[in-house]
């Protein structure tokens, strides 16, 4: 089945359990939001999906279109169609956005095949325009000296260029002012469609006004405690995480 699926996932850093029995499935073509308070394990979930070496999966599975992701290196996962928009993207000093994205796209081509430069730049400029980015950005080093908003935009630019099957957006809204948030949301919305499944991880309801999810999950203490439609986000906003936490004793299986 075409979905990004997490089953009974348990994750530890050292001997500390952070994710405890989380299950979730994002079919292609849908947008799911995971909301949770600080320390609920949201970012851990995102990093584990992408294969961060610091996290140890003690139990459970993650599959992408039925393929076991946990057996793959981070770069294999990426080339097979998983994208993570980082909450805190790394700087890559001296490497321009144009060269970085080019290398990333090149890594997806069969050996010996070269990318066509004119097509590449045409696409890059088109996506930059969509995100309201100036063309001069292409020659800046990846994330070096970028403002918070610029970093987030650059993450979405990469998402747009790499066209993954599934994208996990880790707190893409954090640190954005309302104008930047609208631009980023516009970028994400323009990518929505039957070809991509999106998992939107956020602390605040605000971004969901602009990227309206098909499903909302509430994550507390390493588990999904409530799931529902987009109205769940509003209810949560009104009642607070304590209300959601009250249900944390019995894990809720979603979908």
């Amino acid at each position: 089945m075409d979905e990004l699926r997490v089953e009974n996932l348990h994750v530890a850093i050292g001997d500390q359990q952070i994710v405890r029995g989380l299950s979730l499935a994002v079919p292609r073509g849908e947008v799911h939001a995971v909301m949770g308070p600080n320390g609920s394990g949201k970012s851990t979930l995102a990093k584990v999906m992408a294969g961060h070496p610091d996290y140890h999966v003690t139990k459970g599975k993650i599959t992408m279109d039925s393929e076991d992701l946990l057996a793959l290196e981070p770069d294999d996962r990426a080339r097979k169609g998983l994208f993570l928009a980082f909450q805190y993207p790394s700087e890559v000093p001296g490497v321009t956005i144009a060269n970085f994205l080019r290398a990333a796209l090149q890594s997806r081509l069969p050996e010996g095949e070269e990318m066509e430069a004119t097509e590449y730049y045409a696409k890059l400029y088109e996506k930059m325009e969509l995100l309201g980015m100036d063309r001069s950005f292409t020659s800046r080093a990846v994330n070096e000296g970028f403002s918070g908003g610029e970093k987030k935009r650059t993450e979405i630019l990469q998402l747009a260029m790499l066209e993954p099957k599934y994208a996990v957006l880790d707190e893409t809204d954090s640190g954005l002012d309302i104008d930047a948030l609208k631009t980023v949301a516009h970028g994400v919305n323009s990518l929505r469609g039957s070809k991509i499944g999106i998992l939107l991880i956020t602390h605040y309801q605000r971004i969901l006004n602009y990227i309206v999810p098909d499903h909302v999950h509430v994550m507390v203490q390493g588990r999904i405690v409530r799931s529902g439609g987009k109205e769940l986000a509003l209810e949560l906003e009104e009642r607070g995480y304590d209300w959601a936490r009250a249900g944390a004793d019995e894990p809720v299986l979603t979908r």
């Binding site: 992408a50 294969g51 770069d75 001296g94 970085f100 890594s107």
Partner: protein, 455 residues
């Protein structure tokens, strides 16, 4: 005398191959007056050159190794086992057709004739002790530019132990003269190839750029990887007369058994500019500190260097800027990358005496460490006296973080590709100042070095 040796570990990269030796001139192993006379006889040296060599030998034997500051690894060189002169005895040909087949094949594999056709104004190719090919494009020759095998110059015999050794047994290298006002559009290139085992290569190069002229010279170096120690100890001297611009580019890719101990110095007259671009990849130990003596008013000196020290290698490199006139400026930018147990050392000497005015120096040295076992050291020695002079020194050490590699992997790059891209990013602002052809070559070499470096 013909000898035959086999190289070990072929195919590691482009330069790592060797054909059987075809030498008809061989001074044997070890160094004595007999060796000097053998070389002088073969080369039919005039008496003064023979005496110059003998003085060089005496100085070399008298001088101790620079042990109080330099790597102890120098003691691994057994001067009695080195072979100081080997030549196929063919002389330097003006067309590749005339170069013996097995030697020609070597340079073809290294891509030299192809590069010559594409973008070089002239090429000299040295195979062990002697040039086997030397040619200059007709249009350049007609401007009065001279590009031939060289003899002597301005670095004194006793400058250091290895310049003395070079004075004793020098062979090969180039002499270039560019007449006043002539601007050589394309680079001249010399390619130094060590083919034989336990060999010592000792070329001497002198370039004189006359008033208002411009020239770029490029040297490339490779050797196959043998289990025994090889030695490369060159002397390079540059003279830029009034208003001349001289650029000397080195892209060396020595195999890991080569000790590379080179003396490089330039003399800049009034309003002249000397620029050393120095890329040090490979070798077991490299010790090289290109210098510029800023003798004329408003002269400029620049050293841009990149060193990559891989497992077991030590790149001990740097720059010397001797300000000797008013309004002189110097600029040193050094970037080093240490991988595995590799060690990169920067040594810089900047000297501005008290009586000078309006001199400027800028020094930047940045080190990148790849592994926790990698090492870097910086030893800047800056003496600036007087009141009207300015100096600026910046140094940084950085690491490629695990987060950065994970980030790049998440975009689809393998660990090795991520490392290689990070390293290229680190040197990028410097490489951008290099001529295109060399920056491409350098990128390729860095990728090759990074391939085996991630576990």
């Amino acid at each position: 005398m013909k000898t035959e040796t086999k190289a070990v570990d072929i195919d590691r990269d482009k330069g790592d191959f060797a054909y059987p030796e075809v030498h008809v001139r061989d001074a044997g192993r070890g160094l004595s007056e007999k060796t000097i006379h053998y070389i002088s006889d073969v080369k039919e040296d005039p008496d003064w050159v023979r005496e110059f060599r003998l003085r060089g030998l005496k100085t070399f034997l008298e001088k101790p190794l620079p042990t109080h500051w330099a790597s102890k690894d120098l003691e691994a060189i057994d001067f009695d086992k080195i072979r100081y002169y080997l030549s196929p005895g063919t002389g330097a040909k003006r067309s590749w057709e005339e170069v013996p087949d097995d030697i020609k094949r070597t340079f073809e594999r290294l891509g030299i004739p192809e590069q010559e056709r594409k973008f070089l104004a002239g090429v000299e190719a040295q195979f062990d002790s002697e040039a086997v090919y030397s040619n200059i494009k007709k249009a350049v020759g007609e401007q009065g530019v001279i590009f031939v095998g060289s003899t002597e110059g301005l670095i004194p015999i006793g400058d250091n132990k290895f310049s003395a050794l070079n004075s004793a047994v020098f062979s090969g290298g180039s002499f270039i003269y560019v007449p006043p006002g002539v601007k050589v559009k394309h680079p001249l290139q010399a390619y130094f190839r060590i083919n034989a085992e336990s060999f010592g290569q000792f070329e001497r190069t002198l370039i004189i750029a006359d008033e208002g002229s411009e020239v770029t010279y490029m040297e490339g170096c490779t050797a196959p990887k043998f289990e025994t120690v090889a030695l490369h100890s060159a002397v390079v001297e540059l003279v830029a007369l009034k208003g001349a611009k001289l650029q000397y580019i080195t892209v060396q890719n020595w195999s890991s058994n080569v000790f590379n101990l080179v003396t490089k110095r330039g003399l800049a007259h009034e309003d002249a500019e000397i620029k050393w671009i120095d890329c040090n990849i490979g070798s077991r130990l490299t010790m090289k500190y290109p210098g510029v003596v800023l003798k004329g008013r408003k002269s400029r000196g620049e050293v841009l260097s990149i060193a990559l020290a891989n497992n077991g290698q030590h790149q001990d490199t740097g720059a010397k800027m001797i300000h000797a006139a008013d309004e002189t400026t110097s600029n040193i930018i050094s970037k080093s990358i240490s991988i595995g147990t590799g060690r990169a050392t920067y040594r810089g000497l900047v000297h501005v005496p008290k009586h000078l005015k309006h001199c400027k120096n800028n020094t930047e040295c940045d080190a990148l460490l790849i592994n926790s076992t990698s090492r870097t050291d910086t030893y800047p020695a800056i003496t600036v006296r007087g009141t009207g002079n300015s100096v600026q020194h910046e140094a940084s050490v950085s690491q490629v973080s695990a987060e950065q590699i994970f980030y790049m992997q998440q975009r689809g790059l393998s660990k090795a590709q991520a490392m290689s891209l990070s390293v290229n990013g680190f040197v990028n602002d410097l490489v951008r100042q290099f001529p295109m052809e060399y920056s491409v070559e350098l990128k390729r070499l860095i990728e090759l070095e990074m391939e085996g470096s991630v576990g």
